[in-house]
């Protein structure tokens, strides 16, 4: 920082000061400019130096002491305006002259300076201090001057003397910590919910498996019973079903012979029955798992909006609405992969649009969700069976068999 004052301004200040019989003060007007020096040398390409220059153009002496402040050092804005008048924008500082005193800002000067910087809106207000000393026999007098630019630290330091920035940073840090704690809590809660739901899903799957086994057993028994019965005479109650099955078969197989019982190509109705059984039953365990739509964790933060993803995979890219590979993951319904949940989302959207509100509702209690999930599962299982020919998956994800509509 540099300061410059013209000769006539300086001599004018000295004149007013030396001729006053007491301390003297006034205001300084001018401008502050930035000088940038770019030096180019062989050693380096360029280096820019910034220099702030305070130019004092003129001054305005105050007629008397305490003209714009009171005993407590409080600046009176009205009086200040009267002195400065329309040159407010050009005020760059103020000055004081006092004889035989130290070259240090006094108590009142500091108090006034702080207020002036605020009132005039000049944060870099300067203070020019003139002091005057004489030899004992008054033969030599010296006028000394010092320019102060006190850093008003009010905005940096709060009343405790701790840098406000540091305090702010600490506040941010502690707020962040609190937030992280809260999120951790939420995550923990949601994880627990998820765990519970998975438990329920596991249970339900077990139930379903049990039920399927029972059904399979029953049908086997039935089959056995029917086998025993057809070996003797075709029974009334089974014929229509056989006929219907056979007729169905004949439609599907163009090379099917007219008489069902003679052609070796023609699958025997037992085979048909078993085939139907296989179709009806769950079949291979992976397939059975595949048939079950993936449950969604309710309230999971990682749960993506199911819409777009489901739509793209289900309709745009693949005409056959097939669940994607991750389905075959563990086979027992558990997953630690969010992708699985995504897949679940898709499947759920395709198959059970009517249950979407349950998945979206994250605020409902666990119990409610479980109940609705359970209801969903039963409905799912019934819908699976009612569809008749749901797609069965091969390990590489291609769909075989008829497509669902």
């Amino acid at each position: 920082m540099a300061a410059s004052i013209s000769g006539y301004t300086f001599s004018s200040v000295c004149y007013h000061s030396a001729n006053s019989n007491s301390d003297h003060e006034g205001f300084l007007f001018g401008e502050v400019r930035q000088e940038e020096t770019v030096s180019i040398s062989d050693a380096q390409i360029s280096s820019a130096e910034l220099l702030q220059v305070i130019e004092i153009h003129n001054h305005d002496p105050c007629a008397q002491l305490f003209s714009f402040y009171d005993f407590a050092g409080k600046v009176n804005e009205e009086n200040l305006k009267k002195i400065i008048k329309e040159r407010r924008r050009n005020v760059i500082g103020w000055y004081r002259f006092r004889r035989n005193t130290q070259q240090q800002m006094s108590f009142r000067e500091q108090v006034i300076h702080k207020q002036l910087t605020e009132l005039l809106g000049v944060p870099d207000l300067v203070f020019l201090l003139f002091s005057f000393i004489s030899t004992a026999n008054s033969s030599t007098h010296a006028m000394e001057y010092v320019l102060f630019r006190p850093k008003i630290r009010a905005e940096f330091f709060d009343k405790d003397g701790v840098m406000k920035d540091i305090r702010t940073i600490f506040q941010v840090y502690s707020a962040l910590q609190d937030k992280v704690q809260a999120v951790c809590g939420e995550v923990e809660q949601s994880e627990r919910v998820r765990e519970k739901i998975q438990e329920d899903v596991k249970k339900l799957k077990q139930q379903i498996a049990l039920r399927k086994r029972k059904t399979a057993e029953e049908e086997r028994r039935l089959r056995d019973a029917q086998n025993a019965a057809t070996n003797s005479t075709p029974e009334e109650d089974t014929v229509p079903s056989v006929v219907t099955l056979l007729s169905r078969v004949s439609f599907h197989a163009p090379s099917a012979p007219e008489r069902p019982n003679t052609s070796p190509n023609r699958p025997s109705y037992t085979d048909l029955l078993s085939q139907d059984d296989s179709l009806l039953s769950s079949g291979s365990p992976p397939t059975s798992a595949a048939l079950l739509p993936r449950p969604q964790a309710v309230g999971s933060p990682g749960h993506p909006p199911p819409g777009p993803l489901g739509m793209s995979l289900g309709i745009n890219s693949n005409p056959i609405p097939t669940p994607t590979t991750p389905y075959l993951g563990n086979g027992d319904g558990s997953s630690s992969d969010s992708l699985d949940r995504q897949a679940a989302g898709q499947e759920d959207d395709e198959d059970e649009e009517e249950e979407e509100d349950d998945e979206e509702d994250e605020d409902s209690s666990e119990y409610e969700n479980l109940v609705s999930d359970a209801a969903r599962f039963t409905m799912v299982s019934s819908s699976v069976f009612s569809q008749g020919r749901p797609a069965s998956l091969s390990p590489d994800g291609d769909a075989r068999g008829s497509q669902t509509t």
Partner: protein, 386 residues
């Protein structure tokens, strides 16, 4: 210019400001250390050199505070004596009191001679707060301060100076100056009036310097006003215990107080005991008493006769009587030594017990005289000449 007497300073100062400075210099006692008054130096003028004197209107004021001396510049304007002064706080460049906390500045009354003294007291109070704030740099010292503050008998009479010992190392140090709440009012007056200086207020100050923020180097010192120091037997008689390492002021200060109180009690008791002793001797020896110290009861002279042998007995009672035994000096009225003094023998050990009362002591003394005088007489005859 420096170290001038107050009167000289007053003569040089501008006439309108003289009353203000007068009350500061003559009556000014600010702070705990009232033995050191405020000093004024470096009187200068703010008027042009052509102004006829006396016209000094600015000076340096030396203020004792917490064992330090603050040097503050006070700036008036002789041409405008009704205006309040300005301050430069010297080395304490960061000290900036809030003007609203200085009522004598806000409502400066140049007509009131006490204005400047009152203003200085207010500024000093703000300075005290400022120093206490600085203690926050050391949690240990802040704890010391807070714990003392809780005790009203100490907290209200405390000055704290917290400064950086070394600007390079940034070692933090602090000094606590405490006025000890010891009652000196019962000390016999005679003990207090022997000092040449104006005794002022009887005060005991304890200064504890912490040379580092962790309180590992602690130096306590006891300051007594001159009369008290004399009454208690001089500075050598008073040894305060060293500051225990790891200890705190709140434990140490009451210890010192107690020690001092005990000493004072002892001195008071001693006085009464001596009085009792002399009273007893007076009743035992009646007409044999030549003279005695009726003020401090420290001396007694008896003129006794044993088998036509007259002798004097001078009894000197020490300050810590009855713990310390009185000294008996036997003096012959007939015999001289070579140097022209009366022949005398000093007896410091003789049957004595501090637990005897005055009467018992007088009785035993009489008995002792009877046993010792023959020896003394022989000695006087042998070694002295008539």
């Amino acid at each position: 210019m420096n170290n001038m007497s107050p009167e000289v300073a007053l003569n040089r100062i501008s006439a309108e400001l003289r009353p203000l400075l007068c009350s500061v210099v003559r009556n000014g006692r600010v702070g705990l250390d009232s033995t050191n008054c405020l000093r004024v130096t470096d009187l200068k003028t703010g008027c042009s050199s052509l102004t006829p004197g006396p016209c000094c209107d600015r000076f340096k004021l030396h203020i004792p505070y917490a064992g330090e001396t603050l040097k503050w510049d006070i700036i008036f304007n002789a041409q405008h004596p009704q205006l309040p002064p300005d301050f430069i706080f010297g080395e304490d460049a960061e000290f900036l009191p809030e003007p609203s906390e200085l009522p004598h500045l806000v409502h400066w009354d140049a007509e009131n001679p006490e204005s400047l003294l009152e203003l200085v007291k207010e500024v000093l109070q703000q300075y005290h707060h400022y120093q206490c704030q600085r203690l926050r740099e050391s949690s240990r010292l802040l704890f010391e301060y807070d714990s003392l503050l809780e005790e009203p008998s100490y907290g209200r009479n405390m000055e704290v100076y917290a400064g950086r010992k070394n600007t390079w190392t940034g070692e933090f140090s602090a000094r606590f100056l405490l006025k000890l709440p010891v009652d000196f009012s019962n000390i016999p007056v005679y003990l207090l009036k022997d000092t040449a200086l104006d005794p002022g207020e009887d005060v005991a100050l304890l200064s504890v310097s912490f040379e580092d923020a962790e309180a590992t180097q602690v130096f306590p010192k006891l300051y007594l006003s001159p009369s008290i120091e004399h009454a208690l037997g001089g500075s050598s008689a008073l040894h305060i215990p060293a500051f225990p390492s790891g200890g705190c002021l709140i434990d140490y200060v009451p210890q010192v107080c107690q020690l001092l109180t005990n000493k004072v009690q002892y001195v008071i008791q001693g006085y009464h005991k001596r009085r009792e002793y002399i009273a007893a001797f007076l009743s035992y020896f009646g007409m044999g008493v030549v003279e005695y110290d009726a003020e401090g009861f420290t001396k007694l002279t008896l003129l006794l006769m044993w088998k036509d042998f007259c002798f004097l007995v001078h009894v000197d009672l020490p300050l810590y009587f009855p713990r310390d035994q009185p000294t008996l000096t036997f003096q012959s009225v007939y015999h001289f030594t070579n140097s022209g003094q009366l022949y005398s023998q000093v007896q410091k050990s003789y049957p004595y017990s501090p637990r005897w009362d005055g009467n018992e002591m007088a009785k035993r003394a009489k008995a002792y005289f009877k046993t010792f005088v023959p020896q003394f007489q022989e000695g006087a005859f042998a070694n002295g000449k008539l």
